[in-house]
């Protein structure tokens, strides 16, 4: 019982699920809305959501979902009609940020109030994982249709465990328990308040002062100190976040694999883990993060060896390499890593010029290829590795995530893996992909890091799955 107050660093931007692609929104969406298929707490399995069960046709093109008896917070039943509407909407709506990902849907129709049939244009194994995206939540057709979308975003009605009571912009989102939630009996909290406290120090002081029950995105630097506080619990949950160094393959010597290999060896990832995550992270060695589906634990790890790196660079004719490093301004950790990498690469004779730019601008520079190296991170939205793999290795329009990495064998394999229905074969394909990418040094994997949250002692079951979903329906405030 009771209301759980959670301090986070940013406010929600909207309550229309198709119009946001941000974690801050998704994490609240999954409290308020429900999806057909959910990802479980471990982040590796799909489990029933609004759909009690589903079947896939043999050609892999037709998905039939059986909906459970669920109600929206206003008491109206959740129907297959609503689900069909929601899927069509995320594909077709002008304001949808996700149309690209859902064009694969050919038709979505309700054959009866509880049965949804989705036909795909072409086969896609990751499709089911996509259904678990909070953005694909099932919305009440009646309330959203037509010109109502804007008013709906202000007064959303969903079938999640909580419903929106009030949104004080910039301050807090106030949710109250949804009595109509299909699994309402299990929900212990009377409500949830998501408070916005942008400053890290303030957020930590806030929980230390006992003014909130939980605070999320704890800076790694504060963990040790918070752990000594007997009133607090520091919770570390595995995440799919991976920090990596992008390399622009088209820039001079960086086109040479040996040079990229040398760079990989010149970077002491352990030191970065220690400095940036205070030892809480782990050295990364594959683009599919540890704990995710098809992660390859035995992937190649090049040893840290600046001397060898120096020699390799000399052999490759790049002994006086100078690199332009785009640093995202405003993120302290990014700047710290930048300084550290600059110093490490210097040992291998590489001169690194740091160029700090506003994060919104760095996107443009990366897309335009105005960079040599830069550190970025990725967190998975869906459980299936296909999404990230396509973006990173699949030669899509993003030039393989701005790296301009080219390997046709890899490209073909990415396509094939998407269509492979046999899990074992599919896993083998992804292992190969991980090996190939590592071999080509498409980028340099740096580290994996966990989600660190902190709660007061009296809070139980406050955790996140690797995709970031908070299971507040299980959280208990004593």
């Amino acid at each position: 019982a009771g209301v759980l107050t959670i301090a986070r660093n940013e406010d929600s931007t909207t309550f229309d699920p198709i119009k946001s692609a941000q974690n801050v929104d998704n994490w609240v969406f999954s409290n308020v809305f429900d999806v057909l298929v959910r990802v479980d707490a471990t982040g590796t399995k799909l489990v029933p959501g609004l759909a009690e069960s589903w079947t896939v046709s043999d050609d892999g093109l037709t998905y039939t979902f059986k909906l459970r008896d669920a109600k929206f917070s206003d008491g109206a039943p959740v129907t297959a009609e609503d689900a069909a509407f929601s899927l069509t909407r995320i594909r077709d709506d002008k304001g949808s940020l996700w149309s690209d990902s859902f064009t694969i849907i050919d038709t979505a129709t309700a054959t009866d109030p509880k049965t949804l049939v989705v036909k795909l244009k072409s086969k896609s194994v990751p499709f089911l994982s996509m259904m678990a995206l909070p953005n694909a939540s099932v919305l009440p057709k009646k309330l959203v249709e037509g010109a109502n979308a804007d008013t709906f975003a202000e007064n959303p009605v969903g079938s999640g465990a909580f419903s929106l009571a009030e949104w004080r912009r910039g301050d807090r989102v106030i949710l109250k328990k949804n009595p109509n939630y299909w699994d309402a009996d299990k929900v212990s909290l009377d409500g949830v308040e998501w408070l916005v406290i942008p400053d890290d120090n303030t957020r930590m002081l806030k929980i230390q002062a006992g003014e909130v029950d939980a605070a999320i995105t704890v800076p790694f630097s504060r963990v040790a100190e918070l752990k000594t506080n007997p009133d607090l619990k520091v919770i570390s949950d595995p995440s799919t976040r991976e920090d990596h160094m992008l390399i622009n393959h088209e820039h001079g010597p960086l086109a040479k694999k040996e040079v990229r290999e040398a760079l990989d060896m010149a970077i002491d990832k352990k030191a970065i883990v220690d400095a940036a995550t205070f030892g809480l992270g782990e050295v990364a060695y594959s683009y599919i993060p540890k704990g995710s589906l098809y992660h390859y634990a035995d992937n190649l790890q090049r040893p840290y060896d600046p001397e060898k790196a120096k020699k390799m660079l000399a052999d490759a004719g790049a002994s006086d390499l100078t690199l332009n490093y785009i640093v995202n301004a405003g993120k302290e950790t990014d700047e710290q890593i930048a300084v550290l990498i600059q110093q490490q690469l210097a040992q291998a004779g590489v001169t690194v010029n740091l160029q700090k730019v506003d994060p919104s601008q760095s996107w443009d520079m990366l897309v335009n290829g105005d960079y040599d190296i830069s550190v970025m991170y990725w967190t998975n939205d869906i459980l299936d590795p296909d999404q990230k793999t396509t973006f990173v290795l699949g030669h899509d329009t993003n030039m393989n995530y701005m790296t301009r990495y080219k390997n046709d064998e890899v490209k073909a394999l990415v396509e094939a893996a998407r269509l492979e229905t046999d899990p074992t074969k599919r896993e083998a394909m992804y292992v190969t992909l991980q090996k190939l990418a590592k071999g080509d040094v498409n980028w340099i994997d740096l580290y994996y890091s966990p989600y660190i949250n902190v709660t007061r002692k009296n809070i139980e079951n406050f955790h996140q799955n690797p995709l970031g979903r908070f299971f507040l329906e299980e959280t208990v405030k004593n």
Binding site: A224, A275, V327, K331, E332, V339, Q343, L354, K356, D358
Partner: protein, 274 residues
């Protein structure tokens, strides 16, 4: 009766102010000689060390020596204070003088411009310019110059407006002096006192703006040692390692103190408050 000119005793406030600023300037100039360590060298073994003999002001989360960073930071911060004030002072003085002296359309246009800039949210301008030109000192100076001149222009213009009707200005005109001579030799020297006093407190404001920008993450390029960014970055370690923020913070305060004292003294000497 003409009293003999008494030798003016040195103004103690001025001496103290100059001494403080001079000390920092000296530290900046002699940084390589007096700094005990390389300000950007990271020593993984010496992270977050409290002040000790080896590191009198302690080390930061990269194991960098804070004393050395402060000494090298003096270079950047003094430069920021000086350049951040110099251009606004010069631009503002010239514009204010022209507006006040010529009056009419020139004045009307410039005054509206001043109104606009005064009403313009400083932060929008600052952040936009830094975003356009990229974070770094030169963007900072440009932003400061674009906004900062307004205060000086207003001060000077108000002075010139009064003084251009003063008898000595009319007298200068009556003696056939050229306009530029009247403006630059007779009016301007008599109008700058207020600006000079103001520029001392302005220097402090410039440093603080720099610190605020650092807080928002758009400060100087890493790994440059600069006090504002040191304070901003050290915030994360406030409860574990107070020394990371305290010493650069105190440096800003002391430099500000020096500037304020010079400003006070200039005010007294030049009789601004009459």
């Amino acid at each position: 009766m003409s009293a003999p000119a008494l030798p003016r005793p040195l103004n103690p406030t001025l001496v103290a102010g100059l001494a403080i600023v001079g000390l920092f300037a000296l530290a900046a100039l002699a940084a390589p000689l007096i700094a005990p360590a390389d300000p950007i060298y990271q020593d993984a073994a010496a992270r977050l060390q409290a002040p000790s003999l080896a590191h009198p002001f302690g080390t930061d989360n990269f194991g960098r020596d804070i004393l050395s960073r402060i000494i090298y930071g003096a270079r950047v911060d003094l430069q920021m204070a000086v350049i951040g004030v110099f251009f606004p002072l010069v631009i503002g003085t010239v514009i204010g003088a022209l507006a006040g002296f010529f009056g009419g359309l020139v004045d009307a246009v410039l005054m509206r411009l001043i109104d606009i800039i005064l009403a313009f949210p400083f932060l929008v301008l600052m952040l936009s310019i830094i975003a356009i030109l990229g974070p770094g000192l030169s963007s900072f100076y440009i932003a400061m110059a674009l906004v900062g001149w307004v205060s000086y222009a207003r001060l000077i213009r108000a002075q010139i407006l009064v003084l251009k009707n003063a008898d000595y200005a009319v007298a200068a005109v009556s003696l056939g002096f050229s306009r530029s001579r009247v403006l630059f030799r007779h009016l301007l020297p008599n109008s700058v006192a207020g600006s000079l006093v103001f520029c001392m407190s302005d220097a402090v404001l410039v440093l603080l703006s720099g610190a605020a920008i650092s807080y928002l993450g758009l400060g100087v390029q890493p790994p440059t040692a600069e006090w504002g960014i040191m304070v901003a970055e050290g915030q994360a370690f406030l409860s574990q390692a107070w020394w990371i923020t305290l010493f650069p913070g105190l440096s800003i305060v002391f430099l500000a103190f020096g500037f304020s004292m010079i400003g006070d003294a200039l005010g007294e000497i030049m009789g601004v408050h009459e």
